[in-house]
């Protein structure tokens, strides 16, 4: 066992900000994970073979939520230091993919991000202008950086027992609260955004707009698997351009 007295978690954290930089279909985040884990296992360098083998393992296939990758980086680096057998380290990485992906999607992509961007939309609609944007960036990233830092530290602290970290009450409460908070903020934002975006339209165009928005919503819900906002937008804009061409 060669556990570092003061592991270079800061250096690893900085590298974790680039974890998806070499995202590919073969190893997904694997290469980025290896790069981020390297500072934490560098002191195994004395044992050349063990170090090289640990680096190679760190770069194997991995896919999870990018903000929570630190948990796996910390845990596997700690396991390498603790002399856990290679097969067990590999199993630990594989076992973490699903839970970290699901938790991150729920906590960030479906919670914190739409919640804070919804607040930014409300701010813009209420006339806060650029302050709403700066506020969004600051608030969102406080949560973002805190989550990355917590994940890395927890991974390193728990090592092979990292599943315990995922059951921490704060994390569970955040996951439970983020969904209703996001839904409430999105609900408040919607009428304000409608008012903000349609302010410059005249009465008859507002009626057409209402029909387009309502019809589009129904169509996008109905044809969810095939139709995206982008495709629908392109088709409708082409149609509008065509009508506008003839109707001068």
């Amino acid at each position: 066992m060669t556990t570092a007295a003061r592991p270079p978690l800061g250096r690893s954290l900085l590298r974790l900000f680039t974890v998806q930089g070499s995202w590919n279909y073969e190893r997904m985040q694997g290469i980025g994970m290896g790069v981020a884990e390297q500072p934490l296992i560098r002191d195994l360098e004395g044992n050349g073979t063990a170090y090289r083998a640990a680096v190679a393992r760190a770069a194997h296939f991995f896919n999870a939520h990018p903000y929570l990758c630190g948990l796996a980086v910390g845990a596997t680096a700690r396991a390498e230091h603790d002399g856990v057998p290679p097969q067990q380290v590999e199993r630990l990485r594989t076992a973490l993919c699903g839970p970290l992906g699901a938790l991150g999607d729920r906590l960030v992509w479906a919670g914190w991000l739409p919640l804070t961007s919804g607040l930014a939309l409300i701010g813009v609609a209420l006339g806060l202008g650029l302050w709403a944007i700066f506020g969004f960036l600051i608030v969102y990233n406080i949560g973002h950086v805190a989550l990355r830092w917590w994940a890395l530290r927890a991974g390193w602290a728990y090592g092979g027992q990292v599943a315990t970290a995922l059951r921490e009450p704060v994390l569970q409460r955040a996951a439970t609260l983020s969904a209703p908070a996001m839904a409430l903020v999105a609900g408040v934002a919607l009428p304000l955004v409608v008012h903000y975006l349609t302010g410059g339209f005249l009465s008859w165009t507002r009626a057409v707009l209402a029909v387009v928005a309502a019809g589009g919503f129904v169509l996008l819900r109905w044809q969810r698997a095939r139709l995206t906002g982008l495709r629908f937008g392109l088709v409708l804009l082409a149609l509008a351009a065509l009508i506008g061409w003839f109707w001068r």
Partner: protein
């Protein structure tokens, strides 16, 4: 009227940073249209247009949940290109023009992400043997090359968007009738509202979240009415 070259370069740099932020470095959400648009507007001295198009494309962004290897359009550089195009249009009427340029750029951005992922896969595949030896320099080289590839991709997508914006300014502003521009704007805002609402409801689901969403709708409507 085209923005001066120095502003175009600033937009290109901003678009490259925005494109890099989406997946590679550091995912601080400057890639969100609500951020990319207003800053592009500020660069052009037209924050209002930047904010409006930022809100418009943020609604399109709600249509996307970026999980795993899912394919999605890239709305960050697209919003910058849209702001550049709409800057020449007149107020709300610029919406449609911006949306046309923005949606085409978003589609190109999404396709370019797939190309980069395939190029990265090829590079990793070629270095597979070296990677299995655990050589740290190979790992670093692959990773840095991936980031540089993504930066180049983001720059190309932004440049394409800005070129489209230039074409729209030169050829569409004068030729599309005022009715045509109104129709384009109505279509853009209508689709954005539809996509934003559909995407939000997908996130909210049918459970208790729907009740919170409904409560929020009532609250938001009350605020609009009181204003």
């Amino acid at each position: 009227m085209s923005p001066p070259a120095v502003l175009q370069v600033m937009l290109l740099v901003w678009g490259t940073l925005v494109g890099l932020d989406l997946v590679s470095v550091p995912q601080a959400m400057i890639a969100r249209p609500i951020v990319a648009g207003p800053i592009a507007g500020a660069i052009l001295g037209d924050v209002a247009t930047g904010l409006q198009l930022g809100v418009l494309f943020e609604l399109f962004q709600y249509d996307i949940l970026p999980v795993g290897a899912v394919r999605y359009p890239e709305y960050g550089p697209a919003t910058i290109a849209a702001v550049s195009a709409a800057h020449a249009g007149a107020g709300t009427l610029g919406f449609g023009l911006g949306a046309v340029v923005g949606l085409i750029t978003a589609m190109a951005g999404g396709a370019s992400l797939q190309v980069i992922r395939r190029l990265n896969t090829r590079a990793v595949h070629r270095a597979a043997a070296a990677l299995e030896t655990g050589e740290p320099r190979v790992l670093a080289r692959l990773h840095i090359a991936g980031i540089l590839r993504d930066a180049a991709r983001a720059a190309v997508v932004t440049a394409l968007g800005l070129a489209l914006a230039q074409l729209a300014r030169d050829y569409l502003v004068g030729t599309v009738s005022s009715r045509g521009r109104v129709l384009l704007s109505v279509a853009a805002v209508g689709v954005a509202l539809a996509a934003g609402t559909a995407g939000t409801l997908r996130l909210v689901g049918r459970g208790p979240g729907l009740r919170w969403f409904a409560a929020g709708l009532v609250g938001g409507a009350a605020v609009v009415w009181l204003r």
